[in-house]
Assembly symmetry: C2
Homo-oligomer: 607 residues x 2
């Protein structure tokens, strides 16, 4: 076996209640590394255009990577993948905490789950043994409850539980999978896939020790990584103030969406990391072997909650500025409710904002909302809606399927801010033009993580790979370069999602390569890694094409192509057509079919 990998996958057929193991495909490991690269390769063989995302046949894959669970910094994340019920395309989301490392300690690199159980079950994996347990008594429990109940009844307090709440049970298409208290695999509605399988939770525990090919070299590289992260200004700031430390900085850039992307400024002084520290903060948390620890702990006295996971930047924006709400305690409480019921905060906030926007426009009326008056800045209504979404009650039943579904119902597609059905995240492409092309082309839709190009426009770069920062200020003339850099950055970030490495760990490319080589014994190079990233990205592309994607899906919603009237991004609109043209050319994708050129596929070994 290659060190770094356990070498075993767990396969579960919920329909039949069968559990099996298979050896990890080492060819796949070499070609797709792990994480969502690996999962994508497996899923590619298992789905067709006809696969119902909420049907038994859609595989749900939990996957770790070769660095997961090692002492390398910030490698505590794992990934969950499936065909997305929200978009119909490639679905993936990764999450932190300790679930990923613990899955490896329990003896598996990943889990491939198919079928649908006739009754609610949960999957217990402990020390290399797996079994399905009845979960009838857990059905209906919220995510915090179910984690506690399972730990109690399995008597494994140090286990890690990934689970769904009521939203997932009711197959909300914006449902998340929650693990380790309030960590979320939020995007693309994977909680609904789990719900459709009647799989309430997966719990893992174990003590398998991971091997490395060259322990001394690995230890040295890991220590260097920790040293560099301690000195990395972004990492330090996230450690210091959580990701919400970005809120006011982002607002100055014009990057923080306000009033459903239609307003350029909003007073966020109550919504910053500093404001959180002054008001509700009680502590901070980090994932496995993370020296950043961007997670916050907060108390919400007003709501009788003494400790909750604090909101990160995306939540502060999606449930705050997007809705013109500046009540941090209220936002944190709504974030807490989303974790409790298992909802993606980005899609939830964006869908509610969209509903208010449509209500204000007169597209929605009281008869559509079951008599609920929707207005900006109204935290109490938002709290009420979250409960209704989770329970699919009244108007909440509509919102539970996300923005595009709501738009289609009211023939308002032109106003919905989504890409491929996924609500666009909280970084405005009018502030950082490169985000336009990355939103338009990301395999999972309006995603801010593959790539997080806004960081590149702020100065993060990987010069060893020719991925150089792309200043935000040169508007039109730089759009072409940004398209190229975004493609390269997506490839590099695909490696992060395969290892699985947190994107806040902007370590030098050579160091990441050293970490991987010292763990696996390989002798790969940064350039070879980048090529693997390109392979993974194009593999997901091929899968999306197979699932029905057409080039017209690679676009930006029209609201984001309207200039903002004020703020740091005022009057700036990315040239999306030019960028897409250049992006397709650079990737060797055919403009008419959206398919990678044959020679490119052969070059990447995807022929």
């Amino acid at each position: 076996m290659v060190t770094g990998y356990i070498g075993r996958l767990l396969k579960v057929d919920l329909t039949r209640g069968w559990i099996a193991e298979e050896p990890l495909n080492l060819d796949y490991a070499a070609d797709f590394l792990g994480g969502s690269g690996f999962a994508g390769r497996y899923i590619s063989d298992m789905v067709t255009r006809e696969t119902d995302p909420l049907g038994a046949e859609n595989p749900l894959v939990f996957m770790t990577g070769p660095l997961t669970g090692t002492n390398a910094p910030c490698c505590g994340r794992f990934t969950i993948c499936a065909r997305s019920p929200l978009t119909g395309f490639w679905g993936e989301a990764n999450s932190g905490g300790i679930f990923g490392p613990t899955l490896k300690f329990a003896g598996y690199d990943g889990i491939i789950i198919t079928g649908s159980s006739p009754k609610p079950v949960y999957l217990e994996i402990a020390e290399g043994k797996a079994s399905l347990k009845d979960a009838s008594h857990l059905w209906g429990q919220d995510c915090y409850q179910v984690q506690k109940t399972i730990k109690d009844e399995t008597q494994t307090p140090r286990s890690s539980v990934a689970c769904i709440g009521v939203a997932g049970e009711k197959m909300s298409k914006i449902a998340a999978i929650i693990n380790d208290h309030g960590r979320a695999a939020g995007r693309t509605g994977l909680g609904a896939v789990m719900g459709s399988k009647h799989l309430k939770a997966v719990t893992v525990s174990g003590s398998t020790r991971l091997q490395t090919a060259n322990e001394d070299a690995f230890h040295e590289a890991a220590q260097e990584g920790y040293r560099l992260l301690k000195n990395d200004m972004t990492a330090q700031m996230f450690r210091l103030g959580g990701t919400a430390i970005y809120t006011d900085i982002g607002m100055m850039y014009g990057d923080v969406p306000v009033r459903y992307y239609t307003q350029g400024t909003f007073d966020v002084s109550n919504l910053t990391g500093g404001a959180m520290e002054e008001t509700i903060l009680t502590g901070q948390t980090g994932c496995y072997r993370c020296s950043i620890a961007c997670g916050r702990k907060v108390k919400l006295d007003k709501y009788g909650i003494s400790e909750a996971d604090g909101p990160e930047y995306e939540t502060v924006a999606s449930l705050g500025s997007m809705l013109l709400i500046d009540d941090l305690t209220g936002i944190a409480y709504v974030g807490y409710l989303c974790n409790r019921y298992g909802l993606d905060t980005i899609s939830t906030g964006a869908t509610i904002a969209f509903a208010i926007y449509l209500f204000e426009k007169g597209v929605l009326g009281l008869s559509d909302t079951n008599g609920i008056e929707l207005k900006w800045g109204d935290i109490d209504t938002v709290i009420d809606l979250i409960e209704k979404i989770a329970q699919r009650e009244g108007f909440g039943d509509i919102l539970a399927d996300g923005s595009l579904s709501l738009a289609k119902r009211h023939k308002a597609e032109e106003f919905a801010v989504h890409v491929k059905g996924l609500e666009v995240a909280m970084h405005d492409p009018r502030a950082f033009a490169g985000m336009a092309v990355t939103y338009a082309t990301s395999p999972r839709g309006g995603c801010h993580l593959n790539s997080d190009f806004f960081f590149m426009e702020m100065g993060v770069e990987f010069p060893e790979l020719g991925i150089v920062a792309s200043p935000r200020e040169q508007w039109q003339e730089s759009n072409k370069e940004k398209a190229q850099m975004a493609a390269l950055h997506q490839d590099w970030r695909s490696i992060y999602d395969a290892l699985v490495l947190c994107k806040f760990a902007n370590l030098p490319v050579f160091l990441i390569t050293r970490l991987l080589n010292s763990v696996t014994g390989w002798q790969t190079t940064p350039q070879e890694l980048l090529k693997i990233g390109e392979r993974i990205f194009n593999m997901k592309r091929l899968l999306n094409l197979k699932l029905g994607l057409v080039p017209q899906d690679d676009t930006l919603p029209s609201l984001l192509l309207q200039p903002l009237p004020d703020g740091g991004a005022a009057d700036s609109v990315p040239d999306i057509d030019l960028m897409i043209d250049e992006y397709y050319r650079f990737r060797a994708w055919d403009k008419l079919t959206g398919k990678p050129a044959k020679w490119k596929l052969e070059e990447l070994g995807l022929g």
Copy 2:
């Protein structure tokens, strides 16, 4: 002549009204580069322990460097040096705007001013010609007025004027020299030196074109510099929000002094760059050839002011959090008054905070303050005090000489937060331990710029020179390393002060070397530059020793060695003794005399 330099110094004897020129000493140029390195070398020969800082014999030197006025990024600054009336030791302050470049365009690398005029004069330098003009009618004018009056009467609207206000005229030891609207050479009381000479202003204009040795190489290096700065996250943030963008980040680090350094937290949500943008911001400004443009323009409606230079971070802290004031408009107005009267905002705010601290302690009473009740958070009293300091009226006459003078008067030296008589700047050494040793050893006293080590603890580093970032989190064990790094960083920052290059331009060492070489035709290396920096630093040390400095002056005030009760720096105290020991050892300074070892002086060519 070496390109980059004009090759001429202007010498002015104000007592006799004589004006002369002399060629630039090229040996000095090679050994001390320019700026405050150059000025220090000249001043070293001109002052003794007996020189009265406010006497005719104290030379006042305006100096540029080899990059000043070129198209290199962020080289718009110039330096002013003299024996400091505030500290009695080495005094220097640099300032931005266009004065430095314009002095070179007017035909001079620098000006050496001695003597004292029998009546108020100003010095006009235009196109290589200099003359003294009567300034009787300008005496008493504020800094904004006098700039306008001189431009009007010399009919050179594009000239640049450096001047003093009433504070300098009255020889306040915390008086600044102000140029280009509200740019300030703030620290060490150089405005008083100008006042003692009855020199109200220096105005410069000219059109000399600067030559470079290798224009193509220079152009390429300069463009690379601009590109890198556009992608530098710190530079971008300062561009975006001004230096006050640091206020809440700094507060989370525990770096922002509160209530005269005795409190660890304060709600600064009204004092951030974002809050400024939301409230009083009208625009931004930059120095000559600066792509950062950290300067802010603000309107202060409440005070009837439609445009003023906005407060930078140091001002927001010294006149805000230090005094428990969170009224940004009020702080900006006080900052404006400081510019108008020509006062250093850091020393002014710190001295007022010290007075309030002593008043609260009962050391000062109403009889000492002329009946003024001093209390925290009282903006109106601060405004009143600024007027009184500028005019040396009542209690203001005492405050006008700074903290140490006030302390001595009331036998309260143990509470004064100063080093060598200079009020410590707005970065708390309990937050960033390396600041302890840099404050203790900086040639001008409690100075945050030589070095700005807090940035190194946030991750800025110059690895090519072995100057690596020093994480703030390892407290005691890292103090020794920090002492070494601080020494190297001071040497490198001495090069910045010689070139003269703004410290927000953290360009790679190789690029700065390329810029210098392509301008001058030299073939210096980064390591040679660092050696020049060490030479400059030790030259200033020798001068300070000659002026009476003893090793006991290399210390930190006791208030900064008390742990803070709360906030980001709670319970952390730098180990100053250990650091000073290591620093002396690393610098080869004698522990008993404070003198550099003979071999070190010979190595540096200072034997």
